[in-house]
Symmetry: C2
Subunit: 544 residues, 2 copies
Amino acid sequence: MINGMMMHCNLNITSIMQHALALYSEQKIMTLKSDGITTHEYTYEDAFARVAQFANSLDRLHVSKGATIGTIAWNNYQHFELHYAIPCSERIYHTINPKLPHEQLLQIIISAQNEVIIVEQDCLHIIEDLYEHIQPFLKYLIVLGDVDTTLESPLEFMFYEELLAIESTDYDWPDIPEQTASGLCYTSGTTGAPKGVLYSHRSTVLHALTLSMANVVGLDENSCIMPLVPLYHISAWGMPFNAVLCGSKIVWPHSFAGKIEKVYNLIQTQAVDVSMAVPTIWTALKNHLQENNITETTLKRAISGGSAASYSLIESLSRYGIALENAWGMTETSSMGACNRIDNLKSLPKTQILKCGRPIFGMQMRLKGKNNELLPHNGISEGLLEIRGHNVAKSYHNNNSGNQTTDNTTNNTKVWFDTGDIATIDVRGYMNITDRAKDMIKTGGEWVSSVEIENAMLGHEKVAEAAVIAANHPKWGERPLLILVTKPTTHIEHVEIETYLAHKLHKWSIPSATILINEMPYTGTGKISKKTLREKYYDYFMED
Amino acid sequence: MINGMMMHCNLNITSIMQHALALYSEQKIMTLKSDGITTHEYTYEDAFARVAQFANSLDRLHVSKGATIGTIAWNNYQHFELHYAIPCSERIYHTINPKLPHEQLLQIIISAQNEVIIVEQDCLHIIEDLYEHIQPFLKYLIVLGDVDTTLESPLEFMFYEELLAIESTDYDWPDIPEQTASGLCYTSGTTGAPKGVLYSHRSTVLHALTLSMANVVGLDENSCIMPLVPLYHISAWGMPFNAVLCGSKIVWPHSFAGKIEKVYNLIQTQAVDVSMAVPTIWTALKNHLQENNITETTLKRAISGGSAASYSLIESLSRYGIALENAWGMTETSSMGACNRIDNLKSLPKTQILKCGRPIFGMQMRLKGKNNELLPHNGISEGLLEIRGHNVAKSYHNNNSGNQTTDNTTNNTKVWFDTGDIATIDVRGYMNITDRAKDMIKTGGEWVSSVEIENAMLGHEKVAEAAVIAANHPKWGERPLLILVTKPTTHIEHVEIETYLAHKLHKWSIPSATILINEMPYTGTGKISKKTLREKYYDYFMED
């Protein structure tokens, strides 16, 4: 075969920045600042001038090419800038969730070997707490926000703004090969140690480009998007790249995504028409609209991910002219891998609206049966969901265990990623997750491992058998529900369990209720039948 | 630097087909058949079953991997199928314009060394005429359309439909490396021999993906697109790939794009909402609507390329609810490289609406001044337009002369393509071509070389100096206008010139009028000032 004779131009994040500067330099980015009251607004041109300044800072500090730079930060313009300055100067941004338990934070930072950490002032205590364990590799600590000369810390640190102030707004951007690593994000969605997904410039650009398709996110210059999902959750589902590629106005809500009055005010004052968040936040918005007898909002599309939104929530929001669109993705799929655009709620069957959605271009999906056979895409056959695509992780950073399966059914040896989910796919490509092979619980946008809770409970002297399931919850989407068989002649109260688990698990992992039963249901292979428990207790919190 | 750990999935045309089959198998493709009356309709699923059949045919015939397969065909479902069957089975489709003069057709076919040619029944005479020159390399001649047992030819041929009939609808599609050549199209836009642009799977997929952005073509499943631009013009501007990627309904008008009543009927009966063509066709549509007192049409967007549409045409069509959007591109840019989406005609200045448009993602543009210096993008500075991008030709097939310039101004050595156009670019990225460095004329969608006509005229005994310019024309967009200085004491009439050129040039290259002048205007460097002539005579045909 001969090759085409077209130019090879690298699909790198720099090319998104340069495209946006050529077309959309006057577009606005607005941030609600840390006080929750004052705002910061500037243009793409201003932003990328500062991006160049910070790239110069990193060079001046001799931060290694290829170094991972940890960010512990909220949704604001500074964190946004880091998503360009770091990868476009040949380093790797590594977004860290400040809400993780310290033990996990430490595992993640040690695994990533962050040469630099960039941190909000109100998160500085995290690094102070962990410092003795990470000081062997940490060279610089940089603090975001405005310069505050009263800020005190036992650690040496520099202010981001002071670093920028002395630098040139020009930078001779290198043409980075597209396979180069650009970003790192750890998934805490499993029972073992957190696993790092190492995105490349290519995967990031192709993902941003695919999200730009009219039937996916489909932003344009007239859009105003406010990502409520945190930047530490897969870079707010890739929005720093997708929104800029499309030339949209961006509104950053800082750490106030959970303060629904502030969220609503931002929507209305900035004319936000698209936003993305977990169902918990959409439920809060719905309640806010209802309780305040609000009938109008500029918001037209509420993209919802993390867990499935209920039909009643979708229907409620539609009355305000807001289309709630389910989306599906994982850290391992660069965030959104499928979406369910709803043109017209009334014209579609309810079952279709509730599905996870259709794969974006470049995301291949297949179902595997019990004997590894491929199952038909008929909307009925349930099988293990395997995926493949240029936005899908091939393996993990600093970890040899992947979720790979190899396909030898054709003459092309291809690697597929095992999602651990049980799903159906219909003839129009709509994928729906029907069961979880790995028993993960998504609560308020965070993953909780049922196995981790079960293991902790099995250490309790009164417990014979323990099972944790995800149960439907009016506020949190889902909450862990603990189901126990106690040892003979013993009894246990839920408050005892809360106390027992308080030092073992993160607050949100502690089950919200405990049910005592006499005997666990079992599957044919002798495992506890979570499916049976879910069928019986899934609506436990709804019946309260 | 370290690489990301994401899967490498090839950006090949096969991946577009597989995505469309997973999501849009039920979508329709409709064709007006060769009689201009009957229609053919089937689904994507039907189409790709036949694509598999023809891929099997090519294997059965032992057509070489990497072979170029010429197509001389109209806009119909069979020609569409070839855009998948050929590249996805590791051959190269080569679209050939049947309207070119035989001499150019021969140059092109010999340059491409077509192992197979696939031809419409009404174009079979072309191959018969050229056969003696191409028979050394031509192995198979395949005839499109329905099987017609009365069709006679001195050449051996097979019917496409008979080949398909015996094949399986399954094919084990190889995972083609993305750099592999997929398609070939010759540009006749220069004075020398036609030059072949060899597209790759990667360039084709990235182009299709970029066109899918909401602010470019932005089709979706609810769109119905009818490409009026022929498939032999850069694969109808890439629509076989872009429309299928987006899951749109496609209407193929066969060879009837110039029959405006048929075009209008197709629009209305099929509910076509987007179409693409040269301004000549949009003018004909406008006239048809006016003359027949039609007030309504389903057409919403008329994408216009090849040459710039006039403001009066844009305004006239807007009264029917049709947005005429200028687009710009070349064979060397995989068709559309810039577009001018008009949201609201009234809100935009006329000068902006008439510009060529803004570069699509991946297309970089710059202006070079007289001393090779880069000029600012201020909307005023005029310079030579150079471009770069993954959809831009690096060099030509079977030809070592490129249009490349090398950029040594930064530490990245990058190759740029010299368009030969003089342009401005403004701060929002709007590019506008203000002059032609190479004096090409676009008439009714076809390129005419002014230099070729001038050279022919200089051979005439009565001619001292000759200049040909593009002049505005109410029907054809532009037509060549010949301006002569005759030798002393001689006189020449336009009819003499028509006769003289009849055997030297293609019909459409023969100037529509001749003006005799006493003295040519000259530039400072002693060249005929085409700019002065254009300023004086550009509206010559409009004043008739």
